[in-house]
């Protein structure tokens, strides 16, 4: 990835994190008074999404660092908490919802870490079991090149026993996770897909083999792992390809060390279809059989989703029968048809995930 300009909001120009990032980046810097100046620089480009990936805007987060995952109505949500460290991503996946989520999309990093840590302390003081991730509005590890955020967070989470941090990525930027006092309170997680999808739809991401190798290294450093097959993309031969990914996965990592595996088929807001047609005219992923769900998002026709989930779950069960597999944003019918039960029958999806986190990450519910 090549950054062309670093924009710094004047209010945080003297922040030590700002100085540190500026020193690590050898790109022209522009101090701005207002974010609109950056927005204009992006919006005026022929491809604002591409432009948004080439600039980095350092600013302070004026809102909350903790947010509840937006989820979507009518489907079962995992009750995840988002730690909002920054926005957008320099990798370029065709299906990335962030392309239409932010207006304009902008690679933005919040440097007021003092506020972040204060909020984190407040959250920890509640002593509630929480699953917190930084990989919702950005990739968790793309910031490793220029910042120390993961390092700080891993150590902070490692010093308490109630919450777990999930770092979700498509990169292999794990070097700085080595020799950290993580105390198994950080889950190293990868988004996985078939080689075909990685090669054709996930521009500038690490290869499947590299991701699995990175996962194996994290496991060797004592980190619990998680994997997200999201989005699962339907194409001719996909079932065999996903089977191969699962075989490769468990050839690299130990099933007992996997906290959870999520499955979610491709879904997107209608606006993303136009974006994909414009930015990735060769991509065919939007031409499968999609319907508009009750939440307004496009998703595969239900029987097609169930068919793919069943195949993948059967394959995981064969190799790792005890690993917790869950579905991301699906309804009770799909759960029942794919996994044989619906979450409410065993306490709900958040409870299932909490229980697995407690077991794998040695969390202490309600204790000190």
């Amino acid at each position: 990835m090549t950054l062309t300009t670093l924009y710094i909001n004047q209010q945080i120009a003297d922040n030590p994190t700002t100085r540190s990032i500026q020193a690590r980046l050898n790109v022209p810097t522009e101090i701005v008074q207002r974010p609109q100046q950056v927005y204009e620089a992006i919006s005026s480009a022929a491809d604002p999404v591409q432009q948004g990936k080439k600039i980095l805007y350092l600013t302070r987060n004026r809102g909350a660092f903790f947010k509840k995952c937006p989820g979507t109505s009518h489907y079962t949500c995992c009750d995840y908490q988002i730690l909002h460290i920054g926005t957008f991503c320099h990798m370029d996946c065709t299906y990335c919802v962030l392309q239409t989520y932010f207006h304009p999309p902008i690679l933005q990093y919040f440097v007021n870490h003092g506020d972040l840590m204060t909020e984190l302390d407040t959250v920890f003081s509640q002593k509630k079991i929480l699953r917190i991730g930084t990989g919702e509005f950005t990739d968790s590890l793309i910031w490793e090149l220029w910042t120390d955020v993961s390092n700080q967070l891993v150590q902070r989470f490692g010093a308490q026993n109630h919450a777990v941090l999930e770092l979700k990525t498509k990169t292999t930027a794990i070097e700085r996770l080595q020799n950290r006092a993580h105390n198994r309170k950080t889950i190293a997680a990868w988004s996985l897909n078939t080689n075909h999808i990685i090669n054709t739809q996930e521009r500038a991401t690490a290869s499947l083999a590299a991701r699995l190798k990175a996962a194996a290294r994290c496991e060797s450093w004592g980190y619990p792992l998680a994997f997200h097959f999201d989005p699962l993309v339907i194409y001719e031969g996909c079932e065999e390809d996903y089977k191969q990914v699962i075989q490769d996965l468990f050839a690299n990592v130990t099933a007992d060390n996997v906290v959870w595996i999520s499955l979610g088929t491709l879904r997107f807001p209608p606006a993303l279809k136009t974006m994909i047609q414009k930015r990735f005219p060769d991509s065919k992923i939007i031409y499968e059989e999609f319907i508009t769900g009750p939440d307004g998002k496009m998703r595969y026709f239900k029987p097609l989703r169930i068919k793919l989930y069943r195949k993948i779950i059967a394959c995981i069960r064969e190799l790792a029968p005890a690993v917790l597999v869950y579905l991301c944003m699906e309804d009770d019918e799909v759960w029942r048809e794919s996994l044989g039960f619906k979450p409410s029958e065993i306490g709900g999806l958040p409870h299932m995930l909490d229980a697995s986190a407690i077991r794998h990450c040695n969390l202490k519910p309600g204790g000190s």
Binding site: E289, I291, F301
Partner: protein, 336 residues
């Protein structure tokens, strides 16, 4: 005086026409008939005009500009053609002085048409293109468009102006009312062969804009999904078997083609719909009961509506409900 008359006065006000000096006889052989730079009209029928000039003479001399070695027509393309048709060798014409700039010439050509009658879309487009080519900035373009009764919104003007740059067949499709501007522009974005093939299909089926859009979307997405060019798809036997039979009514063809394309684009969804329809048929609901499935079979909630005029009919509905609930096909519908 209506606004158009007023516009006309405004347009001519700044143009130093001096008929006494400029009116002269011009040899028709010296007029460049191939130069259509200033042609606005799309009308090719000359019969009435020929008859009028034959009986009454040429009442309004064409406007020409000398452009060595001959003359270009600024106003009066049809009049010149009619005179040639009558076998004339020369016409009285107003020949503009050399100091007329491109902007003034364009204004004259447009005013001669736009301020005397309603322009069709293609003529409006030609007029807009003329202005776009000669105006030096957006402000001048906006003012001139307004004065000449053309679309003054720059975004609309930009779209309209593209029409006359489209392939000829697509322009003809607009004139024949087969397609409107938005569809013409959409077809214009495709390869000419594809655009013209679709135009032919729309013309053959006589479909309205909404159906055109639906067909186009289905064809485009099938083409992408299956990696087949659209013309090849249209030429396939399955589609030609629907299109060709002359005895088949257009409405039937439209329905069959839509249904064929939809099945091809959404095979699983279509199969599920067909299966559902078959099961519903087996329930023999009758005309007073309607069963509505969840949209795209995504949700789980079905809806049933019933109608009745009196107690007896309501009682019949109640009895029917009992039968439906225990009917094996109803179980299959719910079990999916």
């Amino acid at each position: 005086m209506d606004s158009k008359s007023s516009d006309k006065q405004d347009v001519y006000r700044d143009i130093p026409l001096d008929p006494a000096i400029a009116l002269q006889k011009v040899m028709l052989s010296e007029v460049d008939l191939a130069d259509n730079t200033f042609r606005i009209t799309t009308c090719t029928d000359l019969d009435k005009l020929v008859l009028s000039i034959h009986k009454l003479g040429l009442m309004h001399p064409p406007v020409l500009k000398y452009n060595s070695p001959g003359y270009v027509i600024v106003c009066g393309f049809r009049r010149i053609a009619a005179c040639l048709n009558l076998g004339w060798t020369q016409v009285p014409a107003r020949v503009l002085k050399e100091n007329f700039g491109r902007f003034e010439l364009a204004q004259l050509a447009i005013a001669d048409n736009a301020l005397q009658r309603s322009l069709n879309l293609l003529e409006t487009s030609r007029a807009m293109k003329l202005l776009v080519d000669v105006c030096t900035d957006q402000k001048q373009l906006k003012t001139a468009s307004q004065d000449l009764g053309l679309p003054s919104s720059l975004s609309v003007a930009a779209k309209v102006e593209k029409i006359c740059r489209l392939p000829l067949k697509i322009q003809e499709g607009i004139l024949a009312d087969t397609i409107n501007m938005s569809m013409a522009l959409e077809l214009g974005r495709l390869d000419p062969e594809v655009g013209e093939g679709l135009l032919e299909l729309f013309s053959q089926l006589k479909v309205g804009l909404n159906k055109q859009r639906e067909l186009l979307l289905l064809l485009k997405e099938i083409a992408k999904r299956e990696d087949i060019p659209i013309p090849q798809m249209i030429a396939e036997k399955a589609l030609q078997d629907i299109l060709k039979p002359v005895e088949l009514d257009r409405a039937v063809k439209r329905q069959k083609i839509r249904s064929y394309l939809r099945r091809r684009r959404f095979p699983s969804i279509s199969r599920a719909e067909e299966k559902y329809e078959k099961l519903v048929k087996q329930l023999k609901l009758g005309k007073n009961i309607n069963l509505i499935p969840p949209k795209d079979f995504e949700g789980m909630t079905y809806m049933m509506t019933f109608r009745f005029d009196n107690r007896e009919e309501l009682n019949n509905v109640k009895e029917k409900f009992e039968k439906i609930i225990h009917h094996p096909s109803f179980g299959k519908i719910l079990d999916r």
